[in-house]
Symmetry: C2
Subunit: 353 residues, 2 copies
Amino acid sequence: MSENEVIIQADDLESYVSALFEKTGMNQEDAAYCAQSLVQTNLWGIDSHGVLRAPIYIERLVSKAMNPAPNIQKVRGFGALEVLDGDDGMGFVVGRAAMKRAIELAELHGVSAVGVNRSNHFGAAALFAKMATQKGMIGIVMTNVIPNVVAPGGSKPITGNNPIAIGVPTFKEFPFMLDISLSNVAGGKLLLASKKGEQIPLDWATDKNGRPTSDPDAAFAGFLLPVGGHKGLGLSYVVDILSGLITGGVYQHAMKSMYKHRDEPSLTSHFMIVINPLALMSREEMESRMADFYQTIKASPMWDDSREMMLPGEIEYRTAVARRTNGIPVPINLYNDLVELGEKLGVTPKLAA
Amino acid sequence: MSENEVIIQADDLESYVSALFEKTGMNQEDAAYCAQSLVQTNLWGIDSHGVLRAPIYIERLVSKAMNPAPNIQKVRGFGALEVLDGDDGMGFVVGRAAMKRAIELAELHGVSAVGVNRSNHFGAAALFAKMATQKGMIGIVMTNVIPNVVAPGGSKPITGNNPIAIGVPTFKEFPFMLDISLSNVAGGKLLLASKKGEQIPLDWATDKNGRPTSDPDAAFAGFLLPVGGHKGLGLSYVVDILSGLITGGVYQHAMKSMYKHRDEPSLTSHFMIVINPLALMSREEMESRMADFYQTIKASPMWDDSREMMLPGEIEYRTAVARRTNGIPVPINLYNDLVELGEKLGVTPKLAA
């Protein structure tokens, strides 16, 4: 524990954040779910999408930019394909409803797709992909975000770094879980390079005119570049088309950043595909084949003996085991914000640290 | 036209290659389809997956490594999710059968997924994604390939550069079409750098021990690196899991390279997802929204005025328009191989050039 952070036990953090959400008018169950999801994300070590975001979410729920009690309902589709209207609800609640429905439909049809429009920021996409793996299914989860990625040669952002998470059940300690954004790196890496005074590779980001830059500060004022050039760019278009365009939602520049438009719904869209492998083989066969797949990867030799071949989701699993025991490091500024928020909303007791 | 190539009209090339395929025992319709697909790929400018591959396909059909008359049938699944057994058929024929079935199922259920095992190399994945767009549907097509990609830090290839194609209907001159492999670059780029005597970026490829290299010749003897490091690596695992693992097919090292195991079935697997946007909105609405999406991209400014913002599929479309008029450039060595093959199989008349 450094002097810049406090260590908080996961359960304490979860019950406190849940109480915060309840004060916004969310029902107890939704509040507990949102808090549990944020803390789960911190446990995975993905602190950028954990309780760091609680203050902005709560501000937006209090101002009614996000609807604390959304009426989420089907508005389009038939058979195994549906679109839900998120009613400007908290993204976690809307995302959970969509994945729940996608799982039901995949049970009936073997595969399903559920789109959502009029949602908001839903945190780590892996949260929803994991719901599928817990039912023995494969979950593919994507969301569009406000454009922050520039096409190579372009001078304005044209698409978001739209994340995709894909989870596959292993029936072991942790599922296969890939959760990636479609920019080459996230903004946090630019910040880190800037703090260290390091240059960045030219394919990470651009200056404010879209020109590739090795200066992390220029990059921070500019835009992100897509992973793999036209490959990530094209995939990002696909996520926007599936999430926003075919669902009747909004896409490209019609979304609203929750930071720049704090008092307005974000109009975020999500898209989820669920595939039920247990419609194709027994649980035992699936488990055995995934174990074999993992074993082959794990047994593959490294030229760098200091490194270990990691499986998608393994780092997050290990971090969660450690943080469940040792607690979650929370930056002191964030801790103070959370305490202040609790005082304002009348939450007791104070957040333990 | 250089002295190293001959120009052949698309129709001439197609009818000649179709006649070659017929001589292997393929029925006329399948032969014509395979020839049309290869020439279509050349028209798009993707010469690596065009008639260049005809000689190896035909050799394998003649030797019965590939079954010229496969009995493709459903072996697993229900509802909107099915797995077909490809009966060691030519990949183009098996892939077409799978996409045809996926389109039927998406018409019934709104979304569908069809996996295939016991197939072979199926050429450009875009061929099958395009079938979906021609029906007003979104096609997602993937295939596993023999491991040729090394995980960062690893010393042996652990997964293939498994391609993914995604097509979206626009109802205009050309569909949205993304067709990417999951290595950072294809082997052809290493060859080109070697010919030019240029160094390559360290994230392209490794030497034969898995160590990143800037020497294209060392890279050519080594392995490819995944696009975006762990991002492309994870996506490649997903393609292998969906194509080979959950379909009851083979995955990772159990496939057989068609070049190294010329006389054996490749045991390739494919996976196709089809989403029917016309189950969610009218054709007019879909067309208008895609036109708006494209217009926004096209209107986005460039800092480099010499470049044009291209849409996924646009370069291939333009190349096809030009090659349909001007003919297809065929390397002289390939031309000679095709002529010789025709003489051996008794195809007349000789390929026009």
